[in-house]
């Protein structure tokens, strides 16, 4: 067990930011905390990293007593990269090294990993947002931490930057590093996480394996020129469980063992041609909206 929290509770003067949150993170998984803005993600990570004091509740890293030394084994990036703008990347990273008791030789390794080795001696303030973000991830990787904590790691980045960060996360997770990631970007969680916990207004709504939570339903998206005929034909198919109509597109839920090809064959037999046919899994967005609507 890498992380265990029990009944974390945080009350600000006007709101309850975190309401009895208990989560467990196992070694080697990529654990996503998913929630809309203001749902308590950053508060949770802030408490786990010692910058926010919980009103009540406990947590423990590596099944040990809490201490600042635990955090030396954790690489973390909370929201924005925090560095001294007037210092160059090397100086900034050497400060992190000294705090974490890591030899400064490690700077070259992480700089190469995040692709900043050629800009190491430029001042931080001359960096682009994407570079700042990569430097922050680099700083988090100093000393080869067992756990990486990332809060909205792709926030504000352009599509290319987002892909780069995502590849980096996958690369790091393959090295056996446990990753705890908070995000409101559903596709991000879907693409990189193995486990997910959905929270809203500080409360845990659901928790589990991404594939088990998300892929439980068998869906096909169809549309046709002759929409009414398509609809009645789909409804006549014996394996159709439900049919949702959305903007001249049908979302058909099929029974578990049915393959999309079976539905297609049924349509062909009834002389219906389609112009849009996409078998798909329920995506996290729908999953999320479903779980958080109350």
């Amino acid at each position: 067990m890498i992380l265990n929290t029990s009944d974390l509770y945080k009350k600000y003067p006007k709101i309850i930011a975190l309401n009895r949150l208990s989560i467990n993170v196992d070694k080697g998984c990529v654990y996503g905390i998913l929630g809309p803005n203001g749902s308590g993600k950053t508060t949770t990570l802030g408490i786990l990293l010692g910058v926010t004091n919980a009103t009540s509740g406990t947590y423990s890293w590596f099944s040990s007593q809490n201490s600042s030394d635990d955090r030396k084994k954790i690489g973390a990036l909370l929201e924005t990269p925090n560095f001294y703008p007037n210092l160059n990347a090397w100086d900034n990273l050497s400060i992190t090294c000294k705090i974490k008791h890591v030899p400064t030789d490690d700077i070259h390794r992480v700089a190469e990993l995040v692709g900043l080795d050629d800009r190491l001696f430029d001042k931080f303030k001359t960096y682009s947002l994407g570079m700042k973000q990569r430097l922050a991830i680099g700083a988090a990787l100093l000393g080869k931490p067992e756990v990486l904590v990332l809060d909205e790691p792709t926030n504000g980045l352009d599509p290319r930057g987002i892909v780069e960060i995502r590849e980096l996360i996958n690369k790091i997770s393959k090295q056996g590093v446990t990753i705890l990631l908070a995000s409101h970007a559903l596709d991000e969680v879907e693409k990189v996480c193995t486990h997910v916990c959905v929270i809203q207004k500080g409360k845990k709504i659901t928790e589990g394996n991404v594939n088990e939570l998300v892929v439980s339903e068998n869906l096909v998206e169809i549309s046709s020129e002759d929409f009414d005929a398509l609809k009645s034909c789909c409804l006549s198919f014996s394996e159709t469980l439900s049919c949702e109509e959305n903007n001249k597109t049908l979302l058909i839920k099929l029974s578990e063992k049915t393959k999309p090809i079976d539905l297609n064959r049924h349509l062909v037999n009834n002389n219906i041609v389609v112009n849009h046919f996409i078998p798909r899994k329920k995506n996290l967005e729908e999953f999320f909206l479903e779980k958080t609507k109350q």
């Binding site: 910058v51 201490s67 635990d70 973390a76 909370l78 924005t80 001294y84 703008p85 400060i95 705090i99």
Partner: protein, 258 residues
């Protein structure tokens, strides 16, 4: 401890604003100390000769405490505005270590200013002749000067940790230094000895004025007892204040979300 020292030294050394303020201080301080040579004093000897120069210079440079104060404010509040405080804690510094690192930083600032003062005195003193007695008991004012700087800077730290903003911290410090405490001082004039225990007054008492129209003499209309050394009683009260400021800073910082 050593690594905290290295970190703080790096932050101070590579900050251009701090270097500019340091350079300005160097110019103004030379001018100020040098100009004090013509002032009427109740001390018979030349103010810039050894060993009296230690008393004169520490008192004169005491007026320039705003320079190290600004440097300290920039150094500390930038930790909050760049959110590096937060990052340091996340990276594995404990909150107490962070306070310690900021104390190390004001220790470095106080030490550099004190060493500069010693250098300045040696140069000016040698140019004035009289090599009979270099240090004398007046040299104790150099220790007083260090304690004066360190004490005021712990007070400045307290303000910085409380307010976090550079401009606001500087403003409040100046307001206290130039208005609040002088007003308190005068309003408490006749009431016992309380006024002597106002925090900045306590630090001020570590230094001694060589000037004839010393504020002390205005109400008493007599020349004060001339003291040629720092009074240890004052040093002790200063240390009590320093500890008090550090404890308050620590309490505030440990309770707060960063």
């Amino acid at each position: 401890m050593k690594r905290l020292f290295e970190i703080e030294l790096l932050k101070l050394r590579k900050n251009r604003a701090i270097m500019v303020i340091g350079f300005l201080y160097a110019l103004i301080s030379i001018f100020l100390v040098y100009k004090s040579t013509g002032v009427k004093t109740y001390i018979d000897t030349e103010t810039l000769q050894f060993p009296m120069i230690w008393l004169t210079a520490t008192y004169m440079l005491g007026f320039l405490v705003i320079f190290p104060a600004i440097i300290s404010i920039i150094n500390t509040t930038s930790e909050f505005s760049y959110k590096t405080t937060r990052q340091h804690i996340i990276d594995g510094m404990s909150r107490n270590e962070f306070i310690l690192s900021k104390l190390i930083s004001i220790f470095i600032i106080s030490t550099v200013f004190t060493l500069y003062l010693i250098l300045l005195c040696l140069i000016l003193g040698f140019s004035k002749g009289n090599y009979n007695e270099f240090f004398g008991e007046q040299f104790s004012f150099v220790l007083g000067y260090f304690l004066y700087l360190f004490g005021i800077l712990t007070f400045v730290q307290l303000i910085c940790f409380l307010l976090k903003k550079t401009g606001l911290s500087l403003g409040i410090f100046l307001l206290y230094y130039l208005c609040v405490e002088p007003i308190l001082y005068w309003s408490l004039l006749d009431k016992f000895e309380i006024k002597k225990f106002l925090p900045l007054e306590v630090f001020d008492n570590l230094l001694f004025s060589p000037l004839k129209d010393n504020s002390e003499t205005i109400d008493k209309l007599e020349i004060p007892n001339i003291v040629y050394h720092m009074e240890w009683k004052n040093a002790l009260i200063s240390i009590v204040y320093i500890i008090l400021f550090i404890v308050i800073t620590k309490t505030i910082f440990n309770k707060r979300d960063i």
